[in-house]
């Protein structure tokens, strides 16, 4: 915008559009984004930058939003793109690179983009949950492979990978575990032995899983590593807490990135650095129920009380996911329609 036009627009606009960046930035995120009241106010007090949080559906929806509006984005920073969705966002050039201060305190395992177009913020796991007491005479699963046993498959409920994020992560877990040659046989065994597939997490957990509310009769469900934490903290006075099959866990890493086309790149970078700073990172476990990526963060005892440590999660390279996801889900669908 030229100086003449600025004068025409008026003094207030002039300050905003000609003198540096606007002092309000917009954080576009999914509906599971929660931070304690006041956390973003502290950022405003420290920097003079006001953060407007806008939420629009789940992670898949906001990534589709960012791709559809690429170049003219709804916000300045996007938080919530995960390793399942990362490649399609990178392919669509929705982010600009930014090397965040504080990245040195983050393990290399979660730094999935060498060009630093996204910054890792937190990490959670999609894991098989089960109730040992509801397994009857069947012995508890010790590995992903155990789930194909008839007595366990018949007690298992998971989700359609095309309509559910945990369902998709579980499909990826089986591909990471059994490889291109083996995952379909595993699923055929699940299918033939009576697995139940639901559209979403809520039906699987609350209508079929014995630990749900009101719950069903199945003793094994695909859910999150954080589910037992929720059960423990919000399950009333004497909560029942599920066990985690640690060998089944697929890591879900969430990233933040500066949206290409923003007029507040510098301030956007400062917000990402704030999200990565130890004080905010220490808030993440009890507000979003996932683990911080910054190793200097303090994880509260309340969170670890019910959490199972996941030492060796299953993983797939985002580029491999990006190249194969459509084919895998199609093959999975055809396998069930056989």
């Amino acid at each position: 915008m030229g100086p003449k036009l600025c004068i025409l627009v008026g003094a207030a606009m002039l300050a905003a559009s000609c003198g540096g960046e606007p002092d309000t930035i917009v954080l576009l995120t999914h509906e599971s984004f929660v931070l304690p009241n006041g956390t973003l106010d502290t950022f405003t007090q420290d920097t003079g930058i006001t953060v407007e949080v806008v939420q629009g559906g789940d992670a898949g929806t906001i990534v589709a939003n960012a791709i559809a509006t690429a170049g003219d984005p709804v916000g300045d920073v996007l938080f919530g793109v995960d390793n399942l969705l990362l490649q399609r966002a990178l392919d669509a050039d929705v982010f600009v690179a930014h090397t965040a201060e504080g990245l040195d305190d983050v393990p290399d395992r979660v730094k999935l983009d060498e060009q630093k177009r996204v910054t890792p913020i937190d990490s959670g796991y999609v894991c098989v949950n089960f109730r040992p007491d509801a397994l009857g005479d069947a012995s508890p699963p010790q590995s992903l492979d155990d789930l194909r046993r008839p007595e366990l498959a018949a007690r298992f409920v998971t989700q359609n990978p095309e309509s559910s994020t945990p369902g998709l992560a579980f499909l990826f877990a089986t591909i990471a575990e059994f490889g291109e040659d083996g995952w379909q046989d595993f699923w055929r065994d699940l299918r033939d032995n009576g697995v139940v597939i639901t559209a979403g997490w809520s039906e699987a957990y609350n209508n079929y899983y014995v630990g749900g509310d009101p719950g069903g009769e199945r003793a094994i469900v695909n859910s999150y590593a954080s589910s037992p934490v929720f059960e423990g903290l919000f399950g009333g006075e004497e909560p029942m807490v599920s066990s985690i099959l640690a060998e089944s866990c697929f890591e879900q890493i969430e990233f933040a990135g500066i949206l290409a086309g923003t007029d507040a790149e510098e301030n956007a970078g400062r917000l990402i650095e704030y999200l990565l700073s130890p004080p905010v990172q220490s808030e993440i476990p009890l507000s979003m129920f996932v683990e911080p990526v910054n190793q200097r963060a303090v994880i509260p005892e309340e969170f670890t009380r019910y959490a199972t440590p996941i030492v060796a999660p299953l993983a797939l390279d985002p580029a491999v996911i990006g190249a194969n996801q459509a084919r895998w889900t199609q093959e999975w669908l055809e396998l069930f329609r056989e």
């Binding site: 929806t61 559809a68 509006t69 139940v196 809520s202 509310d213 459509a326």
Partner: protein, 554 residues
């Protein structure tokens, strides 16, 4: 046959008495205004979405979308919507009849109670239906899905449309032709088939069109109850756009859907025809204040069965909402005032936001809906286009509209503005207002309006003092509907980027249901109950105007 029992029928090609009173110029002006509103809020964003999606897709073609599979998808979409509509009519007409024929204490509460499922997020109702069917032993392996389950859920949602649109019309209908037929020796059944049903046609067609298009774009119910093998245009648009990011396939399906909806809306307009039944006659019927025991039995049976069916998901939620650790209590309701760990604000604040949006959306939908219904009364091509166009928003995918707003309204920071949420709610409410009002205007007794003019009143005076009071129940029924639709809306607005001040109650229910923890499940149930009671209260308040029928408008 149909024409001969209508009483006063206008010669084809001429405007009704109402249309003549409004005048061609006013009618044309209103029609153009309504079309402009729909062009800006529906057509433009839909085009913007298609254009943008095709551009984003670039040279990547819709690989997985074959002609054959598209035909299958369109076929199932229309089949399930047609079956849902027929079943909803069958389930709703007995109650519409009872509410039209009898006067009793609580009649209005019964009518409004049918709206309760309407405001629950579709996902909640679908989950409840699935749970109920599992508990009666139905086998859901999630693979084949279940058409009966889909239909049941759709009926639960849409009975309110039949009860309200047809019921209000039926109650105002002149009973003299029925009585004449009975006196001349027709059996009650034959009177119903040969006199009542044909005369109800405008309302039946209007209600059917709304139910059809509403189920045509149903999303949550199909995804949850349809398994892996049943998909509709709506669920496929979502799958291609959001799950697969195959934007060209999504755009193609959006076009297919828009063409199908345009055709269906046109068909509806042809079916509705220019029927000028003499219905809302001022020679109003007196309802007897005492009912015979047969009548009490009849009304009681219909009410208990219909409401029992519609409200069973709600009853389960009510039971859940008062169950706490120590037995029973209102702890979950009290907790709604606090922000739970999984939501950005407290559910109570989300409810306040929802009420504000519902009020704003109902006002916009009612103003535009009245203008559309009035402008459709003259006999002109414009009037027919208006009548067709107002139905279209119901049949357009939430993905199309939501993303259309995101890529179309890039100016003036509109994309993050609550104004878009109001607009998204209002365009969905608009067809409900028109469905309630249009048949009512069509059924106005031309003779009464003409008499006013002959006796020397100005057209404006006749409209205000005679037509408006007669139409008031229908206008208010439409406004109540629009408010209810807004309270439960979780479609297009779900794709908009919204600040905390636009976070609504259905989003809060969704957030609470998304994690384990008995506390959250209890609070979600309590919030659903609050929403249900709220819609009854809001609509009863709006409906209060209906009891002053016959007095002045102001």
């Amino acid at each position: 046959m149909a024409r001969t029992v209508q009483g006063v029928t206008d010669p084809p090609g001429e405007s009704s008495a109402f249309g003549r009173l409004v005048g061609d110029r006013v009618s044309r002006g209103l029609g153009i205004a309504v079309l402009a509103f729909i062009a800006i809020t529906v057509a433009y964003p839909a085009l913007a979405m298609v254009r943008r999606f095709l551009k984003v897709a670039g040279e990547r073609n819709a690989e997985t979308l074959s002609f054959g599979s598209t035909v299958d998808i369109v076929g199932f979409t229309i089949t399930q919507a047609a079956l849902s509509t027929l079943l909803t009519l069958a389930a709703g007409l007995p109650l519409a009849h009872v509410l039209a024929e009898y006067s009793f204490r609580g009649r209005r509460v019964v009518e409004v109670a049918t709206l309760v499922p309407f405001v629950l997020p579709t996902v909640v109702v679908a989950i409840a239906v699935q749970r109920a069917l599992i508990s009666v032993g139905m086998n859901f392996d999630g693979i084949d899905g279940s058409l009966p389950a889909i239909l049941i859920a759709h009926v639960v949602f849409n009975v309110a449309v039949v009860v309200r649109v047809v019921g209000v019309y039926w109650r105002a209908m002149d009973r003299r032709p029925n009585e004449a037929a009975a006196v001349l020796g027709s059996t009650p059944l034959s009177v119903f088939w040969r006199v009542t049903l044909p005369r109800l046609r405008p309302a039946l067609v209007a209600a059917s069109a709304v139910v059809f298009l509403f189920t045509f774009t149903s999303f949550g119910v199909i995804v949850i109850l349809g398994g892996l093998s049943r998909s509709t245009i709506e669920t496929e648009i979502y799958r291609y756009a959001i799950t697969r990011n195959d934007f060209s396939a999504a755009a193609l399906l959006a076009v297919v859907q828009a063409v199908a909806v345009g055709g269906l809306a046109y068909l509806n307009q042809r079916l509705q025809g220019r029927v000028g039944a003499s219905g809302g006659s001022p020679a109003r019927r007196r309802w007897s204040q005492t009912m015979s025991w047969q009548q009490v039995l009849h009304a009681g049976t219909v009410i208990v069965i219909t409401l029992g069916f519609l409200l069973s998901p709600f009853a389960l939620l009510a039971w859940r909402s008062v169950r706490v650790d120590s037995g029973f209590g209102l702890d979950h309701y009290a907790a709604l005032a606090l922000r739970p760990a999984v939501l950005p604000i407290s559910p109570a604040r989300a409810v306040v936001h929802s009420v504000v949006f519902a009020a704003a959306a109902a006002i916009v939908a009612t103003v535009i809906g009245v203008a559309a219904s009035v402008s459709a009364q003259v006999s002109s091509r414009l009037a027919r286009i208006v009548e067709t166009a107002v139905l279209v928003p119901l049949g357009i995918s939430a993905v199309t509209l939501g993303f259309g707003y995101l890529v179309g309204f890039t100016f003036l920071e509109l994309r993050r503005s609550p104004v878009l949420v109001v607009v998204a709610h209002a365009v969905i409410g608009l067809p409900f207002v028109v469905a309630a009002l249009l048949p009512a205007i069509r059924s106005l007794d031309n003779g009464v309006l003409d008499a006013g003019v002959v006796l020397g009143a100005t057209p404006a005076h006749v409209l205000r003092r005679i037509a408006l009071p007669l139409l008031r129940p229908a206008i208010l029924a439409g406004a109540g509907f629009a408010a209810a639709v807004s309270l439960g809306e979780f479609g297009a607005s779900g794709f908009l980027a919204r600040g905390r001040s636009s976070f609504t109650a259905p989003q809060a229910v969704f957030g609470l249901l998304g994690q384990p923890g008995a506390d959250f499940q209890g609070q979600a149930a309590a919030l659903c109950i609050v929403l249900g009671l709220l819609v009854v209260l809001v609509v009863l308040l709006i409906d209060r105007g209906r009891s002053t029928l016959g007095r002045g408008w102001l």
